[in-house]
Amino acid sequence: MIKFDHVSKIYPNGFKGLKDVSLEIEQGEFVGIIGLSGAGKTTLIRTVNKMHDISEGSLIVDDVEVKNLKGKALRRFRRNIGMIFQSFNLVTRTTVINNVMSAFVPDLPFWRCLFGIYRKEDKIKALEALDNMGILEKAYVRCDQLSGGQQQRVALARTLAQDPKIILADEPVAALDPVTARQVMNDFKKINTERNITVLINIHHVDLALEYVDRIIGIAAGKIVYDGPSKKITEAILSEIYGGDLSKVGSASELERHD
């Protein structure tokens, strides 16, 4: 369970990223976070694994107070949380399987880590994660030869290999074309339902969010303006989230067609 209790985040330059956010997310939920760019979506997601510190309030993830974590304890805490990035963040110069196996690095004994020699069970686990994402056949191919969608799946496989309880995804489909984006969203949905992993996803395309996600959190200027099931989203709510300017909503026209 993730519990935000009156959390605020002020950046060193005085910008308020989050203002008095209170939230509760149960294990196994699939949550989409929507809002204008700069509204605080990324900040919200990154506070969960302390990639960003919070300034006020308390944030408890699985009974752990996140803001007190540091050093080794923080790293061990992060082992249970997967993170997916917009730009995939893979080492493109090495093979797919090596990228996936980097998920095991923190658990390796020092000499194995130094020489990059993995155990057989690690290899099998990595291959199974790749199989799960349907790209087993690319295991020994170099990452720079894959398409964007395939690379995002490698990143997903890397996260799966970590066996996380929570996956944080920061605009995972923003760099992908619509068809691939849908495939990757399907993958997220599959992971969420099959493994009961909590998925927090920042998403720019409202139509995709409404289609896949169970619960929507709308953020505007660091404040939560909507928190509820995605089915209950109306145009009025959207216009509140997007500051009355529906033209800024990612493909709002498609939204109309859906409803």
Partner: protein
Amino acid sequence: MEEKLGLYDKIFKPRLITLSNGKTVMEKKSRAPLVILVILAATVLSVHITGFKFSTIMKRGYQFWDYLFRMFPPELSYVNSIWQPLFDTIKMSILGSLIGALLAIPFAMLAASNIIKSKVIVVLTRLFFSITRTLPTLVTAMVATFVFGLGTIAGTTSIAIFTFSYVGKLLYEQIETVNMGAFEAMESMGCTKLRAFSVAIIPQIMPGFIANSLYCFEGNVRYASILGYVGAGGIGLIINQTIGWRYYSRLGMIVVILFFTVVIIEYLSMWIRNKLVGEI
């Protein structure tokens, strides 16, 4: 999983990994041990043959600094005798780079497989480029002094040959990666190959070509300093003299002047290259 197996995989058989759901994956053996072994063996052999000894460097390394410190303070009054050979070096480099780069254009065209359809011509021109590139600058300079006599002409020739081979190779590689659509469009309008090349290909390759030539020119100024050794003119001549007569402080002066020249030329050419890339 059908993949071609190389020689290495035939000797070191790939391992089959079976997943829990029954699928199998073939893991080829890593090449890393072989590569490391080869590098280690080559290092050991090289250390043996060259007589590399770390202790010698530790024991007698001060001699290196000793030599260096003798160059300082440099003899400032010597500067007046440096200008003439220095300008000679720069002139040689400019002219040599220009001639070489211009000569490279037609040959690079012949070596580009997307322009010339005849395989024989392409392969022959490339071989020509390769062989000229293997000729050490010092050798071409020496031959040039035999042909043109001692002096700057020999140096210019040698620089031109080097530039020709270096720029030419980069140029034909660049021509081959160029977008051919415009070339075809021109040909379809009834242009000859040459005209289509000048209208459709040259604008695409021009910035890269000029940048490469400038880069080559930078290097040539540096290289030109050794040409003097074989009597091919320029600053190398006086470097050689000062070394021969052991005028270390004069040598120091030459090195200082050379440093500033190289810095100025490098920044100038970087500025021009940036401007070119920015504009097109």
